[in-house]
Symmetry: C2
Subunit: 255 residues, 2 copies
């Protein structure tokens, strides 16, 4: 008998992160929550899967009524292993986050948080990733929580189109944002991507850093615009990557 | 003075892989080749980036006239670090592969080979990933090479649409395939994704495996159909993930 919806929660900041704890607390009021997260930070893991190493899931103490597991793998590994063995029925929704830091614009492609949501898509399960534009360890997630509850209840009631998940980003605000918009990912690029160092032996090494440059700061139908105006952004995000129909490659047929 | 096109080569099977060696040999006849690959296998790394660990690039002996580097990171790290510091000018094309194994259908989302090509897209550089549907260590890449040369010469001459790279997959054949088609990624799913083991202490662990099930084997406009019919498949592949316009989420605006 199925009384309550089954909610699978994951993230890329790891099982100890404040963001996923707030998410579990919020969602445990909506359904039965099973939370399966990496055993440590896996930021920037995109849709990476562990091909050459074994995986192990370790059950932890329940938290806020939720069943908790840590996995020695990526966010996508967490979702796949949950579907394969940890869940006793198919989840009604997969929710990832709350990420510490924005996953707007091109950042969605590197995001482990959105990797888990897109893997949910691959299983045909309505999936949502939530991120807050604030990397600080004491970030306040509470302004996000009412929106998260409404969006998840809405997804449970209405579903999502096949192959589409939601990439939801929250601006840094002190109170609950007044508005949410469905928009597209802004175009932009990262620059100055590495800090250079010299090791004690005189050899260079590099550490990823950089600045994101929004190439269309005035486009009010983009996620970056929303975030810079205190508005919650929702970008419907596809698993399929096919660019079709695609002009500009007609020459290919003649080679 | 720019005499010859600059070609950046990467892959996800690592600098020692036969596939990238054949690719370098082929492309060194077209332009100046700089090959920057992971220092070991990074299959399934998708668009993962190394956020929390330092990167190092090590110059190796030239191979077939190409400058060779190995990097202790992912395929995307290789492209980013090349753009930041290893290349002395902007490459005219980024070519990734030849992957040992197909990256058709949903496999594109997990593929490190295609991760490197999509990162090329993020830099606005025409990029192509090549994969052969054959995992065996002694796979014969030679039937692919004439197609690879034609496709890369074509991309250098014609460019690619902004934000679009090519996912090229080769069927297993003894001779050069007679035909190439521009198609879309087939819909399909992986199932039975883990083999279960018991460790000496009685605890379970899991290793990724599984079977891909093509959900539309008769759709002749898909990559999987081409590969099963001895035809080279080319899927124009987007970096942007926005699903727009997207029906089925109108309810979101009312919550």
């Amino acid at each position: 008998m199925k009384d309550k919806p089954l909610i699978l929660v994951s993230n890329d900041d790891g099982i100890e992160a404040a963001g996923v704890r707030r998410l579990v607390e919020t969602l445990s009021g909506i359904g039965d929550v099973v939370c399966v997260c990496p055993d440590g930070p896996r930021s920037g893991q995109s849709m990476a899967i562990s091909v050459n190493t074994p995986l192990r899931a370790t059950r932890l103490a329940d938290y806020s009524g939720a069943t908790m597991y840590k996995v020695n793998g990526t966010p996508v590994d967490c979702v796949k292993l949950s579907m394969h063995t940890l869940l006793d029925r198919r989840p009604d929704i997969i929710v990832s986050g709350i990420n510490h830091g924005s996953n707007a614009a091109v950042n969605v492609v590197y995001s482990g948080t959105m990797g888990a949501a897109m893997e949910g898509c691959a299983f045909g399960i309505p999936s949502v990733g939530f991120s807050l534009t604030d990397h600080s360890p004491d970030a306040d997630f509470s302004p996000c929580l009412p929106w998260i509850e409404r969006i998840c209840r809405g997804v449970l009631a209405n579903g999502l189109p096949d192959g589409v998940c939601l990439n939801v980003n929250f601006p840094v605000v002190d109170a609950e944002p007044a508005e949410m918009r469905v928009v597209r990912a802004a175009r932009g690029k990262w620059s100055d991507e590495y800090k250079e160092y010299i090791d004690p032996h005189g050899h260079k090494f590099y550490w990823l850093t950089g600045r994101f440059e929004n190439e269309e700061p005035d486009a009010d139908n983009t996620d970056e615009w929303c975030l810079s105006h205190g508005i919650v952004s929702v970008v419907p995000t596809m698993l399929d990557r096919t660019a079709a129909p695609c002009a500009g490659i007609e020459w290919l047929r003649g080679i």
